[in-house]
Symmetry: C2
Subunit: 258 residues, 2 copies
Amino acid sequence: MTGEPTIGDVFGEMIRDAYAVTTGIGPRPLVGGRLPRPVIEIIERDDGLVNGAPAEHYLDPPQRWQPYDHRAVDRVRGQVLDIGVGAGRIALDLQDRGVPVTGLDTSVGALRVSRHRGVRDLVLGTVDEHVADGRRYDTFLLLGNNLGLFEGRERAPALLAALAALARPGAQVIAHGTDPYGTTDPVHTGYHELNRRRGRLGGQLRLRLRYRLLGTEWFDYLVCSVEEFAELVHGSPWRLVDVDDQDHPYYLATLRLA
Amino acid sequence: MTGEPTIGDVFGEMIRDAYAVTTGIGPRPLVGGRLPRPVIEIIERDDGLVNGAPAEHYLDPPQRWQPYDHRAVDRVRGQVLDIGVGAGRIALDLQDRGVPVTGLDTSVGALRVSRHRGVRDLVLGTVDEHVADGRRYDTFLLLGNNLGLFEGRERAPALLAALAALARPGAQVIAHGTDPYGTTDPVHTGYHELNRRRGRLGGQLRLRLRYRLLGTEWFDYLVCSVEEFAELVHGSPWRLVDVDDQDHPYYLATLRLA
């Protein structure tokens, strides 16, 4: 008994339970076999940091979104790929507006919830895998902090290339990021320093998610400044054409196919 | 980088932050250096299970208590030792009623918050350590599920003996427990089975707490049926004289010095 999790669809199980708690559809997690248990997303960082956060925001209707999410969806045009569709909160709103949207996710459980909530066009897989499907898009959404999927200097070029391979002429990427360097908390500034010493970007987080008995493998997730992101994009098929940082430290970066 | 926590005062750090979030006293944990972060208690079990739960209930005023907590404090008499005083929610209420109460805890951080909230008589240490202080009590409270401190067959006799050594004639113990065996969730029923196979009580949980960079050592915490608890008490200086299970699966067990 080491306390180690079993590798599995952490995000899917969590979203299924959050959906059950929010809607009453499906068995809800219980405390003491009786009281409903709030669904908490647990994130471990490789320096031993652990954080928990209520998961219900993944199901939020537009009235409870942050302002930058509204500004992001106002920017879409043409055929949209919602990367990391999750529980479908963004895709559902786009559908309601008559925007053609495809939801992509690597979590079977998340896709099941998205389907149940009414998202019509869903694909299981990574961005790279989706290239072979032959479908092409005008707008790629990386919301819910999913600029993080660029991971760091090693992964970013490949993801930018895969997005270009999926792109129609003039396509755009709208990515939501967070500048991590405003904090004075030594728990974070110390981690940023450690990362730089080991040749990584300061906010190149090494994480795993856990939910109940399940855990993910450790993966990189990028939290970076606009300047760092600009440097990752430099030399790729994409140009950084706009940064909306009205809600600093959060920002929306828009890329256009060069 | 193994993702392993640093051993420290997990509960104290968590309570300090929950107090800051609730009252605005002291620096609050933030998301992205800006938005307040809810304080979540994270509990790992040795089979890899992890659970998160909002920590604010440790600060709850009586209006937000569960009914069994009210019934427990209605039973106290004489000099009270509140074992695991935590953020002081029970001790503060007793003080307000004019009941003489001492709060005992192993967490320096929790005692600091209890002090700040106005608990006057606080002792740092374990029940066993407190025996040497020479103070004696009429009522021992083990609320907030702290019947768990009996741990299992190995620890229970020593804790019952230490309580007896601290007791005045006719003293009582009021312990809040939870019967874990009503669940049909295989995550829990499987763990109970595993525990029995390795010679432990079914609900003898092997846990550690985590908060931010800190973790506790692994420790046993007992969640058991009334029958199992009765068996642990049998042969000790105490008699199980009453069980209040109005809020099943939660119960209040009252012991009296034999």
